[in-house]
């Protein structure tokens, strides 16, 4: 055992060939790592030799927690995954559980889900654009984006009482119906928003410095992007036309008209263009939602009554520990309860998948979350090799990661 006194120093052995390298631990507390991402860098001057992302600083053990809570209680956990687009996570989770338990969702609830999904996609993309531009140094875009995002967050607050942690969906429907005032405000937003997108684009779209900083940076070919399991706009920027909303529609997306924008070059600029186009498409979907919103109930007849405190005995029993809780539906029928299921939805960041193993009890035996951010961060070590520090920051921005979702 070595004891150190004040006068003693220890020589840290330097590995051979390592002398010229400059080790830099970027993060976990760093303004540009979007939360608590840590990236261990080996630098030669400003050029990155190796790039090694370290995650886990925001780990809260949601997958394990979920095993001790009923399906309904777990909705709350999904807010805290991608806290920028909590609505999409709520919808993704409920879609998965409903398919597991074969619960029908009424049309109006489906449409409401699409609506909040697209609202959260816009708000998430706005935050992405704001921080991405700020990372590259364009400060003003940040505040312009937050101006519009504020409108959406206020709408969320009016709809379900919370701006970020919404917990809006329920198994078999949604929590609250929209009011006329919400629809009016949303209509105004949808009306004004295209002009706002143009405003952001005038600031950076043809800005020479912006082009220099994004074109050719973090380039990924289509094959490479598939190998790296990229999804969402990060994949579409490389020219792969893959959008779950289009190719495996859920929650009634097949009824909507929208394009899936793809890029060609697969660099930061292509991904930027993709997401800007997605903002327009989401706005278009919102417009269709407002026009097509069908009347009807917002909660299915079939749904387990999980909204109010449970009274009758044939509902979900929460008095007993969650371990023994049983799913009891209003109608007595056979539901698919034992086995496993994987259901993926398109969230703003990419493909969010929920994998359940059910043993027939009222709680998941095992819940696994396939979070796009985790997989995108995995791509960082490949994409970040040989670039400069400033480019690495741009790449972290363009992958659009949220550490809450990555670390779970």
């Amino acid at each position: 055992m070595i004891t150190l006194t004040d006068t003693q120093t220890i020589d840290i052995p330097v590995q051979s060939g390592d002398e010229d390298r400059y080790h830099l631990k970027l993060g976990p507390q760093h303004p540009a790592t979007h939360g608590v991402l840590r990236v261990d860098l080996d630098l030669d001057g400003e050029t990155i030799l190796t790039c090694d992302p370290k995650v886990g600083y925001l780990h809260r053990g949601f997958e394990k927690l979920a095993e001790h809570r009923t399906y309904a209680q777990n909705i709350v956990l999904t807010d805290r995954l991608d806290y920028i687009a909590a609505m999409s996570n709520n919808v993704g989770y409920c879609e998965a559980v409903e398919r597991l338990l074969a619960i029908e969702v009424p049309e109006r609830a489906k449409m409401l889900r699409v609506m909040v999904c697209e609202m959260s996609r816009i708000s998430s993309h706005l935050l992405w654009l704001a921080t991405h531009a700020l990372d590259i140094g364009a400060m003003t875009v940040f505040l312009y984006c937050f101006r519009e995002r504020e409108v959406l967050l206020e709408l969320f607050a009016e709809l379900c009482g919370a701006r970020l942690t919404t917990t809006y969906t329920r198994l078999g429907g949604v929590r609250q119906d929209v009011t006329r005032s919400i629809m009016k405000k949303l209509d105004k937003f949808v009306e004004d928003f295209p002009a706002c997108i143009e405003e952001y684009e005038t600031l950076i779209d043809t800005n020479r410095i912006w082009l220099k900083r994004t074109i050719g940076v973090g380039q990924v070919s289509a094959e490479k992007a598939l190998d790296l399991c990229l999804t969402g706009a990060s994949l579409r920027g490389s020219g792969v036309d893959y959008d779950i909303r289009k190719h495996m529609p859920y929650s009634g997306y097949e009824k909507f008209e929208f394009d899936v924008p793809t890029g060609e070059t697969g660099d930061t600029y292509a991904r930027y263009r993709c997401r800007m186009e997605e903002l327009r498409q989401s706005n278009f979907i919102l417009r269709q939602c407002i026009e097509m919103m069908p009347p009807g109930p917002i909660l299915g007849k079939d749904a387990p009554d999980l909204i109010m405190p449970i009274k009758p005995a044939n509902k979900l029993e929460v008095d007993v520990p969650a371990k023994n809780a049983l799913i009891t539906l209003i109608e007595d029928r056979d539901v698919f309860m034992e086995g496993d299921i994987y259901v993926a939805t398109e969230v703003p960041k990419g493909e969010l998948g929920f994998y359940f193993i059910s043993d027939g009890m009222g709680r998941p035996y095992r819940m696994h979350i396939r979070s796009p951010s985790f997989i995108h961060i995995g791509a960082l070590s490949t994409m970040g090799q040989g670039v400069m520090i400033a480019d690495l920051i741009a790449i972290i921005g363009t992958l659009d990661v949220v550490l809450g979702e990555c670390d779970r």
């Binding site: 400003e46 410095i209 920051i393």
Partner: protein
């Protein structure tokens, strides 16, 4: 007696300049605020007018944290180098006819020398903090200052050739008193190079790499706090003012204006300097940041050839005219 007068003059100049620095920060925050659809400081005083003073008091009473691993003497000394060199270069700037502390013959060279010395403060701060981000910031600053000092100097050679002097007062008087005789028009290429190099020299956006917030946390000032941080801050703003003054003197005709203002001859000078500072702020609100290698490319491949071309053209012009 003469010494006393000079000391008094210096004291007055410093107080006035430091007040201007304080309110330049207010000016910047207000303008950027309004450009970014917000209000800027509003709480302290009427429309936040006392905010700079509150900030000054705050940073004066803040704890001065010195990292345990830092090279203490250098760490303490670095901000002083920055500030002192910047303040010294104020001595040769003529604010109006005869309103100059030291009317020396090599005024322009003196200012260059001082601004080069100021980069020692930045580099030493980066080194002495013994932190990785500050070190990278210091290195970036060193490379940037060396690369941009050259086009900055070369861009003003044309002005020197036209006026035949390095004395700042002579440069202004040789431009004459009319709008069309400003050196801006014959030296338009020189002005372009000067303006870009000036942004880089003062570490402003889009060349704020030494303190790139989203890359290097705060660059060379990461470990500084309290008054020492404020010293760097003041040095940066005085640097902006000095560079804007040189631009005003060399290209915009100094204190000359459309008509004379009685009792306050520096009026036009100050107006032009604030015009420059407004441009600094406007650019900061608009542009993203260059990458390190792109910055070098711009300096060496575009600005230096342009500046040399400008010298060549000016020389040809002089030969043809005489």
């Amino acid at each position: 007696m003469q010494i006393l007068t000079i000391i008094l003059q210096i004291a007055i100049l410093l107080v006035i300049v430091l007040l201007h620095v304080a309110y330049a920060t207010y000016f910047e925050r207000k303008i950027i605020g309004h450009m970014q659809v917000r209000m800027g400081p509003m709480l302290v005083g009427y429309h936040g007018l006392l905010q700079p003073i509150a900030d000054g008091i705050k940073s004066f009473f803040k704890e001065d944290v010195i990292p345990a691993q830092a090279d203490k003497p250098l760490f303490l000394f670095a901000p002083v180098i920055c500030l002192v060199t910047m303040l010294t270069s104020l001595a040769v700037i003529p604010f109006a006819k005869g309103w100059v502390l030291a009317d020396i013959n090599i005024g322009l060279l003196f200012i260059f020398a001082m601004s080069s010395l100021a980069s020692y403060g930045v580099i030493l701060a980066g080194w002495a903090s013994n932190s990785k981000y500050t070190f990278l910031g210091g290195l970036r600053s060193m490379a940037q200052v060396i690369s941009y000092e050259i086009p900055l100097g070369l861009s003003l050679v044309g002005v020197m050739m036209l006026s035949g002097s390095l004395n700042l007062t002579t440069i202004v008087t040789s431009q004459g008193n009319s709008f069309s005789s400003m050196y801006l028009f014959p030296q338009i290429i020189g002005f372009f190079v000067f303006f870009i190099a000036m942004l880089a020299e003062t570490n402003r956006v889009p060349f704020d790499l030494p303190e790139a917030e989203t890359e290097l946390v705060s660059g060379y000032i990461t470990e500084y706090s309290g008054m020492r941080y404020a010293l760097f801050f003041m040095a940066e703003y005085i640097g902006m003012m000095v560079m804007a003054s040189i631009g005003t003197i060399c290209f915009l005709g100094g204190w000359n204006g459309p008509f004379e203002i009685p009792f306050f001859p520096p009026f036009w000078f100050i107006l032009k300097v604030y015009g420059f500072i407004f441009f600094f702020i406007w650019i900061r609100a608009t542009l993203p940041r260059y990458r390190y290698d792109q910055l070098m490319e711009l300096g060496w491949k575009l600005l230096i050839p342009l500046a040399l071309l400008n010298i060549l053209l000016t020389g040809l012009f002089k030969i043809l005219v005489h």
